[in-house]
């Protein structure tokens, strides 16, 4: 499913070179629920961006569903983001003027799904995350937890190979954070591959496997005990 091999990322500016990732290699299989942990500045966000096809590695290989993402051009990367990856961001990143349905429809619009069909699918996914009664609400009318649920519905929209959640509970209250994690767990139980990035241990514990990154290097990879 996901295989990264000796992945490195160097940020360069005029004065200095920063090594954000150093020879990271691991594999994630279909249906896994993985947490990538690490303190801020550890390189986990860089890793997430590369895995999400938002950024390219300086060296190393990244295979997603058997294809080499590190060799793709901008258009191909856009297709990968659209069809294989569902993003859930810390800051929700919903379009403020749009209803929940239209926010969820957005990736389907770029994916070339017919208008009526994407509308129906958006409603289906919003019902799946428990927002069947909030379809026409705009983000400002929703709580943090609800916003993140819209974002999860949006991540599901193109039926992606993997859901990438970057600190999905970072901006929401604890009680609602638990709800979000439970939704992600449910989705994983239904067979979705999920990768979350977090620096909170109790959030990471929802996952079945934890990969730890420290100073750009792989510092740990362990199976979590069943709760």
């Amino acid at each position: 499913m996901i295989r990264v091999f000796k992945l490195s990322k160097i940020y360069r500016n005029e004065s200095a070179e920063t090594l954000a990732l150093k020879n990271v290699s691991f594999e994630i299989k279909k249906g896994e629920f993985v947490a990538i942990m690490g303190p801020s500045g550890s390189g986990k966000s860089t890793l997430m961006h590369i895995l999400g096809a938002l950024d390219k590695s300086t060296s190393g290989k990244y295979f997603l569903d058997g294809t080499d993402v590190s060799k793709m051009n901008a258009d191909e990367l856009a297709d990968i983001r659209n069809q294989k990856i569902g993003f859930v961001f810390q800051a929700f990143n919903l379009l403020p003027r749009y209803s929940a349905v239209r926010n969820v429809s957005l990736p389907m619009m770029y994916g070339g799904i017919e208008k009526e069909k994407r509308h129906d699918l958006a409603i289906k996914y919003l019902k799946m995350v428990g927002l069947g009664d909030r379809l026409d609400y705009t983000p400002s009318q929703l709580s943090g937890g609800q916003k993140q649920r819209v974002a999860i519905a949006r991540a599901l929209a193109m039926n992606p190979s993997i859901i990438l959640a970057d600190e999905p509970t970072g901006n929401i209250a604890t009680k609602q954070a638990a709800e979000i994690m439970e939704i992600l767990q449910e989705l994983n139980d239904k067979g979705n591959t999920i990768l979350i990035i977090t620096h909170e241990k109790d959030i990471a514990e929802y996952a079945k496997r934890t990969i730890t990154i420290r100073d750009g290097e792989l510092a740990g990879d362990k199976k979590n005990g069943t709760r």
Binding site: D75, R81, R97, P107, Y110
Partner: protein, 416 residues
């Protein structure tokens, strides 16, 4: 650019409503951006329309003088190597005029008026004046578009009998007999000879280089033989069938006269042509140049308007960096982002162009009316204005749109 298939799948209506929604969020800003285009397109439309209107009005004025009139004058002649003034020659004769009228080679002419002009002191009682004496034939009336107000004009009988009759222009009547007098039946003296006044012409006004009312008409033969003792003509005025065949008529007459004067090539011609179509084309050229010049100035305001749009689109792109990043993260290709921002700037310029055209039509209608010019609005200039406004959106929206499309998704998502 995004291809049509992609846009169709996304739903053009969705892209449009999205863009309109974004533009509606910042009504003042959108309005100001639009204002540049409105003023630019509006002034171009107004100036082009007024330019065309004044061109048309000049054309109409010239045409009312007789656009199908051709005047043949003798060219200046070489006398011992010295070239005389144009019109001063003696090469044209009445036989030439008759040939023009009767030749089968000249098919485009309706009427011919041979003329001899002299200048003389004229007296009536104790009054006298110095005026132009026109030796004419009856065709003068139709060819020169003159009508008689009082009495009658020179007849064919008068011409063949060298009658000493005269028809006066209104200015001459005023000079010799006083304003409003009816001189018909009275007599005047020209070059020491008595002439009976048989008519007065209608006022034509002092249009052009000469006062057309300050003239005395006598039979052509009388002028040639009795008054001035010459056998040539000063000019032959010819009416072509229509203004479209003026050039053809000039050609036909030209070759006929070359033949009659035993000259081999047009370069040797001892006569020359003058027609109002010459003035007409010069006048249209002048007004056309003015229209182009003014439109050019107005077009500069369009460019300024376009820069305004570019400026505002750049601000919009910066403001929406996060949104652009998100859209790209969700799978929007660069060309889709470009298309979206281009659509926005085109909506601004298209709407602005539409309002500008309406405004331009309104203003030019009002101005044409108040300056009593004929109101003209060509479809082509309206279509061109639409085209130009869309093109401005595309040209000036392109850079901001590409700037948006080229944002790195992670940088854009991080942007606060």
């Amino acid at each position: 650019m995004a291809n049509w298939q992609e846009i169709k799948k996304m739903g053009l209506d969705e892209i449009l409503t999205e863009s309109i929604g974004t533009l509606a969020l910042n009504k003042v800003r959108t309005g100001l951006a639009m204002l540049g285009v409105i003023i630019g397109i509006g002034s171009v439309i107004t100036l082009v329309s007024l330019g065309q209107a004044s061109q048309k009005s000049v054309e109409n004025q010239i045409k009312s003088l007789g656009a199908n009139l051709i005047t043949v004058s003798p060219a200046g002649q070489n006398v011992g190597g010295v070239r005389g003034a144009a019109g001063g020659g003696t090469t044209l004769t009445l036989a030439d005029a008759e040939a023009i009228e009767n030749s089968s080679e000249v098919s485009t002419v309706t009427a011919v008026s041979p003329e001899y002009t002299g200048r003389s002191q004229v007296t009536a009682g104790r009054n006298n004046t110095n005026t132009q004496i026109y030796g004419v034939v009856p065709e003068y009336l139709t060819v020169r578009n003159v009508s008689v107000a009082n009495g009658s004009f020179i007849s064919g009988q008068h011409v063949s009998s060298q009658a000493k009759v005269a028809v006066l222009g209104p200015t001459v009547v005023e000079d010799l007999f006083g304003k409003g007098a009816n001189p018909v039946g009275q007599s005047i003296r020209i070059e020491g000879q008595n002439f009976t006044i048989i008519g007065v012409t209608e006022t034509k006004g002092g249009t052009g280089f000469q006062n057309q009312d300050d003239r005395i008409f006598v039979p052509l033969t009388t002028a040639q033989k009795v008054l001035y003792g010459v056998s040539h003509l000063s000019s032959i005025a010819v009416n072509a069938i229509s203004e479209d065949v003026v050039d053809l008529a000039k050609n036909q007459i030209g070759y006929l006269l070359l033949d009659r004067h035993k000259l081999k090539s047009p370069e040797e011609a001892d006569f020359s042509f003058f027609s109002l179509t010459d003035i007409l084309s010069t006048a249209s050229e002048v007004t056309g140049t003015f229209t182009t010049l003014l439109s050019g100035i107005a077009a500069i305001s369009l460019i300024v308007g376009g820069i305004g749009i570019m400026n505002i689109m750049l601000v919009t792109v910066t403001e929406r960096t996060r949104e652009i990043g998100l859209r790209k993260a969700l799978g929007a290709k660069n060309r889709i982002i470009t298309a979206q921002f281009l659509v926005e700037s085109i909506i601004i310029t298209f709407t602005g162009g539409f309002i500008g055209i309406m405004l331009g039509i309104g203003i030019s209608y009002f101005l044409a009316n108040s300056m009593s010019l004929p109101f003209t609005m060509s479809i082509s200039s309206v279509l061109l204005a639409f085209g130009v406004s869309v093109a401005i959106g595309m040209v000036f929206g392109r850079y901001p749109a590409q700037k948006a499309a080229n944002l790195e998704p992670i940088e854009a998502l991080r942007y606060e």
